[in-house]
Amino acid sequence: MLMNDNAIIHVENLHKWFGKLHVLKGVSFSVSPKEVMVLIGRSGSGKSTLLRCLNFLEEPTAGTISVAGDSITTAPGVKLDPKKILAIRLKMGMVFQEFNLFPHMTALGNVIEGLVTVKKMSQDEAIAMGEKYLSKVGLFEKRDVFPIRLSGGQKQRIAIARSLAMEPQVMLFDEPTSALDPELIGEVLDVMKQLAYEGTTMMIVTHEMSFANDVADRIIYVDHGEIVEQGEPEKIFNHPSDDRTRVFLRTFLHTDQSD
């Protein structure tokens, strides 16, 4: 297990049950600042649940989650403190497969929503900040456009800008390109590569293996709610030590890459 003292995320013995279904079976790992960690694994293995537990979109059943100095330990029956959950959420940005842009707000409106409503910034400050992040994803000119007029790739880039504008310490991506037409995947991956290059700490669930190979500092293979194997892309892709990883990669790389 890779452990270090200056980890920005530290997860210890995380369990999640959905009713009788044991989806995360005692997962532990750490993420260092500026690290790009990519989670791979077959559909239903618990990757999304793992990300969603980190910012408490799903309430973990048991375990400890620490993010940049805030820590929550839970167990069945424990009532969580909403303030602590909020503190952790503010340290993480989340990007979803389905973008989830707010359709009643313009691109800029989407990006400044958190700044105005959560961070209580003034309109002017928020707009300046929002424009900065729209430019960052290359969509400044879509400032006043409503989501319905944007392509999938543009929507996802706006969604990324919306998360980035909150200036979180970690970005979580749950299959950010899986809902996109093939020709639109590249523009989103390019934005993510740029973020990786700038040293953004990221946890990414993806099936884009060559992208993973390019940006990941570490790859984690998840199977049936457990971390089966982890290591540098070189090792995981070329010399996986676990049979399950090997089988997954072999079948995966030789079949359709869609989930």
Partner: protein, 288 residues
């Protein structure tokens, strides 16, 4: 020239003016269709009018007294607008209650909806107008003078309260369905930005839900304008009460009630028109 011969074939070179010609033809067909429908309406109104005139319907009487009945339009409108406003607030609270994880809020909201939807509006009006003062008197004799007095409501107050409570219950279900129709991802995106549950509701869910339910709210408003006729039983001087007063005195029921019916009809037509405008305005963000 028939449309079929003009219809674009699979040939690669299509005359660009063909699209315009097709569109013009379509518009013409639509216009004729609308004109035919309008003629049916006019014919029906004419037939009914002639029939009534043959049966000694007295338009002169309507002419003399329409002003008196018209004065009730403002009362009817006032009652309906005040009641729909309060009902909307009740419905929002009701829906939040029904969707809440809090068992007390859920219980309260469920009880409210069930009780109000399970009883006739007329009975609710009687209970509020005639029943409550009875309890008020009792309370007054027990020493709760102030509380007792507030339970004695004027006819207008009773009408607004009854209509608000009644429509609030029906609209609770409309709001609930509207809120539930917004995809879960919207809530998740808002929550992960750090919005609280209430901020998420106010900033993200409700604006989208309200756009969806505006037509239903409009329908409720129209239904309420007509149901407000029931408050005439308390002697509120709205359209129905005024029509009834004269109709009874001079045995001109048909004249007065047809006038009243026409006034309600016009009110509802205007209301639907306003609702459609509002719907279009709110659709702005969703137009490609």
């Amino acid at each position: 020239m028939s449309v079929e011969t003009q219809f674009p074939s699979d040939e690669p070179d299509i005359d660009p003016s063909m699209g315009e010609a097709l569109q013009a033809h379509k518009n013409k067909v639509r216009l004729i269709h609308t004109a035919k429908i309008a003629s049916v309406w006019i014919a029906l109104v004419l037939i009914l009018s002639i029939g009534l005139l043959q049966l000694r319907f007295d338009p002169g009487y309507v002419g003399e007294h329409y002003g008196f009945v018209m004065q009730g339009v403002l009362t009817t409108l006032g009652l309906s607008v005040a009641s729909i406003a309060i009902a909307t607030i009740l419905a929002l609270l009701g829906a939040l209650g029904r969707l809440s994880h809090n068992s007390i809020a859920q219980g309260l909201a469920g009880f409210y909806v069930s009780l109000v939807r399970g009883t006739p509006l007329l009975i609710q009006i009687y209970i509020i107008y005639l029943g409550l003062p009875q309890i008020g008197t009792q309370l007054q004799s027990l020493g709760f003078a102030h509380l007792g007095k507030t339970l004695t409501l004027t006819a207008i107050q009773s009408g607004i309260l009854a209509l608000s409570l009644n429509y609030g219950a029906y609209m609770t279900e409309i709001f609930r369905a509207g809120i539930q129709s917004i995809s879960h991802g919207q809530r998740e995106a808002a929550i992960s930005l750090g919005l609280t549950e209430w901020q998420t509701m106010r900033r993200v869910i409700l604006p989208q839900a309200i756009r969806i339910i505006i037509p239903d709210i409009g329908n409720q408003f129209i239904a309420m304008q007509k149901d407000s006729a029931l408050v005439s039983v308390m002697g509120v001087w709205e359209i129905t009460y005024r029509a009834n007063r004269f109709g009874r005195k001079d045995s001109k029921f048909m004249e007065m009630f047809i006038l009243a019916a026409a006034l309600y009809w016009i009110l509802t037509i205007v209301s639907s028109w306003i609702e459609e405008r509002l719907e279009k305005r709110l659709a702005h963000a969703y137009e490609r």
